[in-house]
């Protein structure tokens, strides 16, 4: 390890890093703008100037840009030297000549890197009195606000947006004094990671527009560590909440990234960042609702829709208690339906209440089997689930049947970095340090091999070396042949099409020849054979290489992998429940269905679901948003969302992560398990299962109970910290030390100050009293350090720049027993049939905005969701005589759907692509992949008035 001297102090440092990064790791304050820990150095801003001395005799030294300076063993440097300080001050002064004096009205103010650097450089007086150059701003869509006058031309935005995230519609325009960062014309920034510009921009050029409508300063936000609920990657987030202006109830105001070394690093996707608005949407359930018995004139309501009224929660809880008591006496069937989008704790509570025999997963048989398959595959010791940094280091990637940009967005960003590994290898051989960003990017050379086979590939097309657009059946057969080719290339059937054969041999060669191959797949194509064949490729590759194969399997929802740990072998799915209820018809015992945070219309086809619901005498729903299922419910309890509750999610990698409540839900909103507990507390007689429920006090009591009952989930009892955790006798403060208005915020109602809300359930307080140091626990989500008000301060809390967080890792992998996966028979090759409009296969297509249930209700996101469409192959379209944008009808086993035609050259012939979960198409999702017939929509009859 090289030893260097900085301002007279000797340090042993990592010689791989540049001087700036090294200084920051050492905790020294060196100002910078254009350098970013994840994006390296370009030396554009000149802000990180330091002095370097030839030897100890050198009295003058020379100015160097520390971000562009490699570490020299024995090097002598200075941050504090007067010349360097003056230089840095003058750089700031130059930048400031054009920067507006608008900090008080700028939304970056208080967490602005430019403010921090200005203070740090000591430039506190502005001597320039002239006019400033001004720009006109652009409309960049519903997520990002643009204020170009604040720009200091550090180029970070385009480096992130173009170089790192692969965006194509943001550029540096103009030159000299007039450089402008914008689009070629006004319009939404199309890349799905555009939200990171808000954090990447060191000042207020790009700000969060959704936050803007309920803006408060960073120091006025109450935060806690949370986990994003909009996909199963498990990115860590720092939601921020504060009381709204005209009531005492806190509202969620924004989501920012919370650094997690192994998952999201510094970046989030736009669904995760802007999807939070569903929480404050009009569809949010805030009160206890019960069905209205009287007839209502309801012209727009569909048959079976119920109308609801608000009732006193006690009434509903008492009713629930009665039903539970009845069930205990055997006079009522109490059936629970769980959900993959809520915590393990909520699911466990319902399971405990109704008993394991009456607890169903809330998934269709198909979906549950797929998830079991994922879990089974991951249990094999020849498989390794890679973390994000491991994905970024892969030297060859095979993606099968998963459009990851739309189903696991953060992972596609990691894949994009992996594509540059060849370039990085070349840089290493030329002895160019990897942090020399522009030098490395200028190296010639192809991308690392990325091979895709599946229905649709978004965002990554330009960096994939080979693509095969086929139906899931053919993808599975491709994977099967690939497995053969890896183990024994001579065993391939000679009947294969030559081009396919070539692709298989090519892919096999690449996988065999690479040192860190990675395979990515998942459940989204809803095809078991694909998963089985993928597993086979992975195991064959592992046998060949004598090392576990990295296999990333994406699941559909945030807790999919957690939920199925409660079930054995795919038992307990909705199809099974339907069978059971159908058989039960003779039985005179009435049935109550308790549905936990689940819209069943997205799970089961409409016909079966109507049957299922009609078998129940009563439907009790605990949920966060009004949805089609809630229209059928007799009782509705308002449940808290992720940011309002504590619990555990298990992500795609089997990592159990705990999230904490950021604020307490409005009014009667509470965690689903608390509603159940409340009802149980009203029961006079309590058999063993009920008395266990009655004893629960905190979410951690449930976590511990889960850990005891399910050996697989044993990790839950070491997740933490629990509510009794203290640092120096104190809890961690959710509010910053500067949280303002505490004595005045409720003054219009009462002038005396209320005591802060107590939180017995978490090791955190709803106030500013407590520990504020992110170094001492993973609980701190407000990342702040003296002099570093912006999110750049995260480096103060990392082992090294870009390393693990010092407060301890959040999340523990669940320990599933190691088991060799069974040998599955090879899937039969589908016969070739001519495309026939009366029998087309519908394949699910996923959308970053539109496919996920909750984020669809967010205001900003709902603005950009596409209208439903049916994607048809271009050759088929000719044969069927249908045209782009024409209206078409899709006749399925559960009704007819109407949408515009979209013609595509890549969608496989004989299939049509159906957007999964898009508004108006939600009920079509359970039918995917299935068959339907296509016919031109009949023009609506024109009536003359």
């Amino acid at each position: 390890m090289p030893t260097i001297t900085i301002d007279g102090e000797k340090y042993q440092v990592d010689g791989e890093q540049n001087l700036l990064s090294t200084c920051l790791t050492l905790g020294l304050n060196v100002p910078y703008f254009c350098w970013h820990p994840e994006m390296g150095s370009v030396g554009a801003c000149r802000q990180c100037a330091m002095m370097e001395y030839k030897d100890s005799e050198d009295q003058h030294g020379r100015l160097i840009m520390s971000c562009m300076t490699p570490i020299r063993d024995g090097g002598i440097y200075s941050v504090k030297d007067e010349v360097a300080e003056e230089f840095r001050g003058s750089i700031i002064e130059d930048l400031m000549t054009n920067h507006p004096h608008d900090c008080p009205v700028c939304e970056e103010g208080g967490e602005c890197h430019l403010q921090d650097m200005t203070e740090m450089s000591g430039h506190t007086m502005r001597r320039y009195r002239g006019t400033k150059r001004t720009h006109r701003n652009q409309y960049l869509g519903p997520f990002i606000n643009h204020e170009m006058n604040r720009c200091i031309t550090c180029y970070r935005c385009v480096r992130f947006y173009n170089d790192y995230a692969g965006g194509e519609d943001l550029q540096a325009l103009g030159r000299n004094h007039q450089v402008y960062f914008g689009r070629q014309e006004e319009g939404r920034l199309e890349n799905g990671f555009s939200g990171n510009l808000v954090e990447v921009c060191p000042t207020g050029v790009f700000t969060d527009k959704t936050f803007s409508s309920h803006f408060v300063r960073k120091w006025d936000l109450q935060t806690a560590p949370s986990v994003c609920e909009h996909c199963a990657v498990g990115c860590n987030t720092a939601p921020g909440a504060r009381e709204s202006g005209n009531s005492n109830e806190p509202i969620l105001r924004r989501i920012t990234n919370l650094y997690h070394h192994d998952i999201n690093g510094y970046f989030l996707c736009d669904r995760g960042r802007f999807g939070y608005e569903y929480i404050n949407s009009a569809t949010r359930i805030q009160n206890v609702l019960s069905v209205r018995q009287e007839d209502v004139i309801s012209s727009t309501a569909e048959k079976g829709d119920r109308m609801h009224r608000e009732i006193n929660p006690q009434e509903a809880v008492l009713h629930l208690a009665e039903q539970i008591a009845m069930a205990n006496q055997g006079k009522r069937n109490l059936i629970g339906i769980g959900s993959p989008r809520t915590s393990l704790e909520n699911n466990y509570a319902l399971r405990k209440l109704v008993g394991s025999g009456n607890f169903y997963s809330g998934l269709s048989q198909k979906d549950q089997e797929l998830l079991h398959l994922v879990s089974t595959i991951q249990q094999d010791d020849r498989i390794q689930s890679p973390s994000t940094p491991e994905i970024e280091n892969a030297d060859a990637i095979l993606i099968l049947g998963e459009d990851i940009y739309n189903t696991a967005p953060r992972i596609s960003l990691a894949v994009r970095q992996a594509a540059r590994n060849r370039q990085k290898q070349q840089a290493k051989s030329l002895k160019i340090p990897l942090w020399q960003d522009s030098s490395v990017r200028q190296l010639e050379g192809d991308y690392s091999p990325i091979i895709f086979a599946g229905t649709e590939l978004s965002n990554l097309e330009k960096i994939t070396s080979n693509t095969l657009f086929e139906s899931p059946e053919k993808v599975a057969s491709f994977a099967c042949n690939l497995a053969l080719a890896i183990s024994d290339p001579t065993s391939l059937s000679p009947d294969l099409e030559p081009s396919l054969l070539e692709l298989i041999t090519h892919t096999a060669g690449i996988l065999r020849g690479s040192s860190k191959p990675l395979i990515i797949s998942g459940t989204s194509s809803k095809h078991a054979d694909t998963l089985k064949s993928v597993a086979q490729v992975a195991t064959v590759l592992s046998d060949y290489k004598k090392q576990p194969t990295m296999l990333y399997l994406a699941c559909d929802e945030v807790n999919s992998l957690g939920l199925i740990q409660f079930f054995n072998d795919g038992k307990g799915n909705l199809d099974e429940l339907l069978e059971r209820l159908k058989k039960n018809t003779d039985n005179q015992i009435p049935t109550s269905l308790m549905i936990l945070e689940n819209d069943l219309y997205r799970r089961l086809d409409k016909k079966s679901l109507e049957q299922l619901l009609s078998q129940a005498d009563e439907i009790i729903l605990l949920d966060t948003l009004l949805n089609p299922t809630s229209k059928r419910a007799d009782w509705i309890f308002p449940a808290s969302v992720t940011a309002e509750s504590q619990g555990t999610f298990i992500n795609n990698n089997g990592l159990a992560q705990r999230f904490y409540a950021v604020y307490e839900g409005k009014g009667f909103i509470q965690e689903s398990w608390r509603w159940l507990m409340d009802a149980v507390n009203f029961c006079t007689e309590k058999p063993a299962n009920l008395s266990a429920i009655a004893e629960w006090q905190h979410s951690t009591d449930l976590s511990d109970a889960i850990a005891r009952e399910f050996p697989v989930l044993k990790a839950l009892d070491s997740l933490g910290p629990d509510e009794d955790f203290r640092i120096d006798g104190l809890k961690v403060a959710r509010q910053s030390a500067r949280y303002s208005g505490r004595t005045a915020i409720h003054a219009e109602k009462q002038v005396s100050e209320n005591p802060p809300l107590q939180d017995p359930d978490a090791p955190m307080s709803f106030s500013m009293e407590g520990i504020h140091n992110p170094n001492r626990s993973p609980l701190q989500a407000n990342i702040w350090s003296p002099g570093w008000n912006s999110n750049q301060s995260i480096f103060k809390f990392q082992e090294e720049v870009g390393g693990e967080r010092r407060g301890g890792p959040s999340g523990i992998r669940i320990e599933r027993p190691q088991r060799v996966m069974p040998e599955w028979p090879a899937p039969s090759t589908p016969p070739e049939v001519a495309a026939d409009p009366s029998h087309v296969q519908m394949l699910p297509l996923y959308r970053l905005f539109g496919s996920e249930e909750l984020s669809n209700q967010a205001m900003g996101i709902s603005e950009v969701i596409e209208a439903p469409f049916v994607m048809v192959n271009h050759i088929d379209a000719k044969a069927f005589d249908i045209h782009q944008r024409e209206l078409i009808e899709l006749e399925t086993s559960c009704g007819t759907y109407r949408a515009e035609v979209r013609i595509s050259p890549t969608i496989p012939s004989g299939t049509v692509g159906i957007p999964y979960g898009l508004p108006d198409f939600e009920t079509l999702s359970p039918l995917l992949p299935g068959y339907a017939s296509l016919r031109p929509a009949e023009a609506p009859a024109i009536t003359e008035d």
């Binding site: 002239g130 006019t131 194509e168 519609d169 550029q171 103009g174 030159r175 070629q184 014309e185």
Partner: protein
């Protein structure tokens, strides 16, 4: 030149440069051929963006929004990237210019030798400020940094020809000559 205390209006990216005249529309066969010829010198088509802009500008005099879109479609380069190149280079015009572009050198030697006086003269003669085009559509006046002929200052460049050791009468001659040339060329 505006004073420090008077707002200087700098317009960047403010015009929608759509133009439906003959200078727009899809690339002609001739333009495509020239671009292809140039592209053969590069490893891939996407590197030829700047040359393509120059080639098309040669034919169309300036680059309209439609033109930039046409080049983008032809070369499969994102519009924003072409825009970035086009707005970086001073000699790519994103707004209509006259048939003759006057680049008047404003660097130190020319300044010492009286380029401001010449600029005033041009402005009065043609009734155009820098950045504007004369009413007859022939002349556009632009300021430029050093043209590298300091020993013969003041200088200007007209199209691709240099004119050195200038004074008012030399400029008058030049303007008359060009006016006459264009009058003969297009008798309308």
């Amino acid at each position: 030149m505006s004073s420090l205390l008077e707002p200087e209006l700098i317009e960047v990216m403010e015009h929608s440069n759509r133009d439906s005249d003959k200078f727009s529309g899809p690339l002609t066969a001739e333009e495509k051929e020239e671009i292809d010829r140039e592209a053969s010198h590069y490893e891939n088509k996407s590197s030829v963006g700047l040359e393509a802009l120059r080639i098309v500008q040669k034919h169309r005099r300036w680059i309209s929004d439609d033109t930039i879109q046409a080049i983008s479609n032809y070369l499969d380069i994102p519009v924003a990237e072409l825009e970035s190149v086009a707005t970086y280079f001073q000699l790519i015009f994103r707004q209509p210019v006259g048939k003759e572009v006057i680049y008047l050198c404003k660097s130190a030697s020319c300044w010492v030798m009286g380029c401001d006086r010449l600029q005033k003269h041009i402005t009065e003669t043609l009734a155009i400020e820098p950045g504007q085009t004369s009413a007859d559509g022939i002349f556009t006046l632009l300021e430029t940094p050093c043209l590298g002929d300091c020993d013969k200052a003041p200088v200007l460049m007209l199209g691709e020809e240099m004119h050195r050791n200038l004074d008012e009468s030399a400029i008058d001659d030049l303007i008359d000559k060009k006016k006459k040339y264009h009058a003969d060329k297009s008798p309308d």
